[in-house]
Amino acid sequence: MRRYSAFAVAREATRYHQGWERAWASPEPKRSYDAIIVGAGGHGLATAFYLGKNFGITNVAVIEKGWLGGGNTGRNTTIIRSNYLQDPSAALYEKSRSLFETMSQDLNYNVMFSPRGVIMLAQTEHEVRGYKRTAQANALQGVTTEFISPARVKEIVPIINIDGPRYPVLGGLWQARGGTARHDAVAWGYARACSDMGMDIIQQCAVTGVTREDGAVTGVETTRGHIATKKLGIVVAGHSGVLAEMAGFRLPIESVALQALVSEPIKPCMDCVVMANTVHGYMSQSDKGEMVIGGGADGYNNYTQRGSFHHIEETVRALVETFPMISRLKQLRQWGGIVDMTGDRSPILSKTPVEGIFINCGWGTGGFKATPGSGWAFAELMAKGHSPLTDAFGLERFREGRFIDESVAAGVAH
């Protein structure tokens, strides 16, 4: 692999940019692999990357029915934070956030990680208490967050209206090292690194069945034939239920549509991420100047990647109250993704009833931030059979009543 660098840019500038190689190969599938990952979203690609990097397993295929990064990875609003409440979550999300800090260097690919800071607004007394508690929990977990006053909120975000008519700002939970990253670049960077290790990324190839023998996996049926493996990682977000059905088990997951939108681009006006969970909306500004806005998920099962328009209306209405200056902005685009919701709003990284099949799902509305950490931990689970970061996130927690309740931390879809 040719490394990207300032010199490479200069070199190519002198020869009409004709020397850039393809970032990843598009090979024909082999008949069998040591491990197969279904789903070339960020989590699937990160898993493959760490299988190779941390465990030397490189005879790996990542199989994707569409194009890589075309699922939720390319549809999210890229918020990165680790201010969760429960210890297992804090460990996993903080590992992930810390991996983002050096991801561009590790992958030799600019993922535009921007630790610009994330504020979660407290707009009710209940939220004030909740976030103070989270700040205390984070202090014990070694995650740097702070509960800040309304005046400090106004200082960080001058365009905010802290005396809103319905929900004045009473404070905020501030994580200064949270932020955003370029979502596509995360998928592309991992894909390039995986391809460089000799892994096969097979796009336009849907998995249509899972073959098993004596309770153990033997491979997958795909639109390009049968591919054998003894280790299968299912990392398909909203389609987890569909894959689970192919493999003969059920999951505690329901799939719903979550939407986001961007405004027309405007001059820089807000240099951090603001989340308003009570009114259900959040906003940041992209490097292109668009206001990136997200809100609530639909309440009913859905696989259409569209979403209901009234959610957009509700979100925008709430944000206009909090940020009056956006009231005249035009919406540029809107889109939806299918998110995989669990009952406790925490992910599942687990073995399954089928020997050799592992599942990584349930990230719901908030898994982009977890992409590197999830890959790191899930690769360990697949390679060694367990990982300290995933142990609490097993499927059995639902039967045993050991929930990792993050419904407060994940109060808004992010």
């Binding site: 997951i253 329901e254 799939s255 309440g299 009913y300 099962n301 209901s308 009234h310 039967r399």
Partner: protein, 107 residues
């Protein structure tokens, strides 16, 4: 926008009038049941991509619960019907079969 006909009052209600209530026809397992059954009742869902039976409440209308058969991949509504039934009635199954000949009701 999703529009469902409320079988209780006959109104064509759009989704802002309705409250979704999750999967329909769950078999309840309470105290005394096995852990597996209880887990299945509380958490495990087929989460079908395709024909899906679900509960709705006409929250900003007559206030009553009803059930719907809908395709989660196309948003097509096959039928809405009374909530006073433990399984999809024949006319609902027929309405689905008319459009999805290969579909079958898995128990």
């Amino acid at each position: 926008m999703l529009i469902l006909e409320c079988p209780c009052c006959g109104v064509m209600a759009d989704e802002t009038e309705l409250a979704p209530g999750g999967e329909a026809h769950l078999r309840r397992h309470g105290p005394g049941s096995s852990d597996e059954d209880f887990e299945g009742y509380l958490f495990l869902r087929p989460n079908a991509r395709g024909v899906h039976f679900e509960r709705w409440r006409h929250a900003h209308g007559c206030g009553k619960w009803f059930l719907a058969a809908r395709d989660t991949a196309t948003m097509e509504v096959f039928a809405t019907y009374s909530a006073q039934t433990a399984e999809p009635p024949q006319h609902v199954i027929d309405a689905i079969r008319a459009k999805r000949p290969d579909w079958s009701l898995v128990p």
